[in-house]
């Protein structure tokens, strides 16, 4: 079952999944704090969009609420608070030096592949697309951990931690898409 056999909604959800991973990668590569927060907000936005899409497609009204809350908290409130925090701490000019960014990126790509490999044998997830989406969520979680490992700044750690949470949340909301 390839991409072409799926409905446009399912395609869109998978597309959003890919974008979520992409934001995680960008976060790993970003060395300045403000853009990092921006990326985190974008990830939240994508998450909210995915949830809303699932809600619309499967007609789950409770997911709309979840999407709204995500939008409010992850895209607006938390980034705003982090911004303020950074300005108060006066660390916004700092540029974190990334030792060997290429190694980190290689590790990140391998993690994506690894999560795919790990999810592969799970038989219960009958719908293949669902399985792949779960792989994506796992990848987001792992990338969030990598972000925390490779950085020193506390703010980055917080963002990494919340990006892990994003991954978990994504897995949950995406499950609704393919459950009956």
């Amino acid at each position: 079952m390839g991409l072409m056999q799926q409905t446009i909604f399912e395609q869109a959800v998978l597309f959003l999944a890919a974008l979520v991973v992409f934001t995680s990668f960008l976060m790993l590569a970003q060395r300045r704090l403000f853009p990092l927060i921006g990326l985190f907000a974008w990830q939240g936005l994508l998450l909210a969009a995915t949830t809303a899409l699932v809600a619309y497609n499967r007609d789950y009204s409770h997911l709309y609420i979840s999407a709204l809350i995500t939008l409010a908290i992850k895209t607006l409130v938390i980034p705003w608070m982090l911004r303020r925090w950074i300005i108060q701490l006066d660390v916004h000019r700092e540029v974190e030096s990334l030792l060997y960014p290429s190694y980190v990126m290689t590790a990140a790509s391998s993690l994506v592949l690894f999560s795919y490999y790990v999810v592969l044998p799970i038989e219960q997830l009958s719908a293949l697309a669902s399985r792949n989406a779960i792989a994506v969520s796992l990848a987001v979680v792992l990338l969030g951990m990598l972000l925390m490992i490779t950085r020193r700044q506390a703010v980055t750690h917080v963002i990494g931690f919340m990006s892990i949470e994003n991954g978990l949340f994504f897995a949950v909301s995406i499950r609704w898409m393919w459950t009956n």
């Binding site: 060997y100 592949l113 490999y117 592969l120």
Partner: protein
């Protein structure tokens, strides 16, 4: 066919014998005269005897290399015959152990490699007489050189046709030992002695692995012939062990990363035509051994083996190219580039093994053919480039790019041939290097046929690294040509170089350059011939590749990918001729010749052009984790620290990482072990007697 092959062998050995007469010129001259007197060549021999030793030497050189050329031609003919024949040919030689005669087998695979050996030998035999002359003044023993060269070539030929493990190993050792002496030929330099020792060490270690590999298979077989080995069925574990040993053994000879460190030390220090043979051919013999052992003797492979091979191949290709780019010595650069090319060959083989093990036989064939195609391509252009590096060395006495420059004006014909070689080795259309790299890419592109998602995503990464390799190789050869041949001469030697007057030194490389073009323009023909090899090994041919006629190369089908080398070449020729007409047409406004732009300062010097180290610096800086870099700038101030310094020194050392992380620990370990053993050897006679005594006791205990 076999007879032709024997003829080739005998011609090679005779050439060695001819060279030996140089040991005692006086004696042999007389002997030769007497001998020729018997066969009525009195006048010729008398003339020879009377004339000065110079002419005698020249005659011997021509004789020896002529015989080598004969050997090459014979081997090409017999190889071609074997390649195109339907069945393999067998024979036994009355040599070897009493219970194990030497078995000979000439099939498509050996035929193909015989041809590769033959082509290079032929080119070297044309080139050799002019080149070795310079060694005569250096007081080197040309007899030893000729003798070892002959045995070296004979050894390679024997390896390729041997059909039992015992003969294989004997021939292999013959090849190794002969080439060791060649590496040690100019032994007055400490670096050369070190390189040759390292080479010998690695050859021995490699041979031990090979013996073990054959031993593992032979342990389950009844006999040492390849037929017997082929017939055995090994358990996956033992098969994997045998594969691993073979990979190390052959990989060491072939120069796979990380077993490669000896190669860039050993290959460049030999005389250039020997370097050409070592890089161009001997590495291929190792590839032959690997193919014979893995595809033929072990038979059904596992995909994990393929992944191992692919990973090692990719690493060799990428690192080889990187290290090559950083070299300033032409021959060292070429040696590193051999590692890179062997890497590409192994990538093809690895892909082939993966596809084959996964049940896609027809795709496996593309990989194998891509690898074999690259084998012959590399043999052609690497031999060419090494020979031309020899010419440069011969004419300028300078092998360091930092001291060359401007040779395109001084050596116009040589530089055109080198340019062909550089374009070919950089994998650019329409020459041969491109075709095999294209085929390897096409193999990698078929990953969607595989079930495993991991393989589907790992193989493209390997292919992307191969693209990196290609680009870096192109950069390396832009450096060779741009720094060495273009620009202004950087030293007196380079400024006064002259074109060689020896016709053979031009003819050998020119022959190879023509082959570069032919192999690039008619891939269909080559692939059709290689089909025999794949048919024999995998039971498949790549008929689809030339299904749409000789004009088109379509490895899978025309819809998937197609490349028409002849059309591209024709278009190139047409464009070139139109361009040339436009350039030389009388109507065109002739260009004004003025000095270069010097920013109005008043003249540029040769110091004001990019150097070799400078050219490769950006990539050195980007990929610095791959190198052991030591860069140091020392300035001597004049009076105060802020003025123009009185003197500025710069030192740059670039080393392979494998030295520090693999070889130096190994060497330390060996030295420690030697010290332990040294402790046993106290030098005291009583201790030795004690050893003997206890040994005796132990033996007695065992016997009783």
């Amino acid at each position: 066919m076999i007879v032709l092959c024997y003829f080739g062998l005998i011609a090679a050995l005779l050439s060695g014998a001819v060279s030996l007469v140089l040991i005692a010129p006086e004696w042999s001259q007389r002997g030769l005269a007497r001998l020729s007197g018997h066969i009525r060549l009195q006048s010729w021999s008398l003339q020879l005897t009377r004339t000065d030793p110079k002419r005698f030497h020249r005659a011997v050189d021509y004789g020896a290399f002529g015989l080598l050329g004969l050997s090459g031609a014979a081997v090409i003919a017999s190889g071609l015959g074997a390649l195109l024949a339907d069945n393999a040919m067998f024979d036994q030689l009355p040599l070897g152990l009493p219970w194990l005669r030497w078995h000979i087998r000439l099939d498509a695979l050996s035929g193909f490699f015989l041809m590769v050996i033959g082509v290079a030998t032929l080119a070297v035999s044309l080139y050799g007489p002019g080149y070795v002359r310079s060694f005569r003044h250096g007081g080197y023993s040309l007899a030893a050189l000729g003798f070892c060269t002959a045995w070296f070539i004979a050894g390679m030929e024997l390896v390729v046709i041997s059909d039992d493990a015992f003969m294989f190993m004997v021939a292999w050792e013959l090849m190794s030992v002969a080439s060791y002496f060649l590496v040690a030929f100019q032994h007055e330099h400490a670096a050369n002695r070190r390189a040759s020792f390292l080479y010998l060490l690695m050859a021995v270690v490699g041979a031990i692995h090979l013996i073990l590999a054959f031993g593992v298979v032979a342990a389950f077989a009844n006999g040492f012939t390849f037929d017997a080995l082929r017939a055995t069925h090994l358990s996956p574990l033992w098969a994997s062990i045998a594969f691993g040993l073979a990979l190390i053994g052959f990989g060491m000879k072939a120069g796979l990363v990380p077993l490669h460190a000896w190669l860039p030390e050993a290959h460049p220090v030999a005389p250039s035509h020997i370097s050409a043979l070592m890089s161009g051919v001997m590495l291929k013999v190792a590839v032959y051994g690997f193919i014979r052992f893995v595809f033929d003797i072990l038979g059904d492979g596992h995909w994990e083996w393929g992944v191992c091979t692919l990973v090692l191949g990719t690493a060799s290709a990428a690192l080889g190219a990187m290290y090559a780019f950083q070299q300033n010595n032409i021959k060292r650069l070429l040696a590193y580039s051999s590692i890179e090319n062997i890497g590409i060959v192994f990538m093809g083989l690895g892909l082939s093994m993966i596809f084959f093990a996964q049940g896609h036989r027809e795709l496996g064939v593309i990989g194998l053919i891509a690898a074999l195609y690259h084998v012959v391509n590399h043999a052609v252009f690497k031999t060419l480039l090494f020979l031309q590096a020899g010419t440069v060395l011969h004419q300028t006495h300078e092998g360091n790019l930092e001291q060359l420059g401007g040779l395109v004006k001084r050596l116009p014909r040589t530089s055109i041939i080198v340019l062909v070689g550089c374009v070919a080795i950089s994998g650019l259309p329409p020459l041969n290097g491109f075709v095999s790299e294209w085929l390897t890419f096409q193999t990698a592109l078929q990953v969607s046929a595989l079930d495993s998602g991991i393989l589907r995503s790992v193989i493209p990464v390997a292919a992307a690294l191969m693209a990196l390799t290609g680009a870096v190789t192109a950069a390396a050869f832009v450096k060779v040509y741009g720094v060495g041949f273009l620009g202004q001469p950087r030293s007196r030697h380079a400024a006064h170089a002259r074109e060689t007057r020896h016709l053979g030194m031009m003819a050998g490389p020119a022959f190879l350059a023509a082959l570069c073009v032919l192999l690039g323009v008619f891939p269909g023909v080559v692939i059709a011939a290689l089909g025999h090899v794949s048919d024999e090994l995998l039971g498949e041919t790549l008929a689809s590749a030339y299904a749409n006629g000789w004009l088109w190369l379509t490895p899978v089908s025309q819809n998937v990918a197609s490349y028409s080398a002849p059309i591209v070449f024709l278009a190139c020729v047409a464009a070139a001729s139109i361009g040339y007409r436009l350039l030389t047409s009388p109507k065109a406004v002739p260009a004004v010749r003025v000095p270069r732009w010097d920013c109005g300062f008043g003249g540029l010097s040769a110091r004001m052009q990019y150097t070799s180290s400078a050219f490769s610096q950006p990539l050195r800086r980007v990929f610095h984790p791959l190198f052991e870099l030591r860069e140091q700038t020392v300035t001597t101030p004049r009076g105060h620290l802020l003025g123009t310094p009185a003197r500025l020194d710069f030192r740059l050392e670039i080393q392979d990482r494998s030295w520090r992380h693999l070889y130096e620990p190994l060497v330390r370990w060996i030295e420690a072990a030697a010290r332990q053993i040294g402790r046993i050897q106290t030098g005291n006679i009583r201790t030795y007697i004690a050893y003997s005594f206890f040994t005796l006791l132990a033996l007695l205990a065992v016997v009783s």
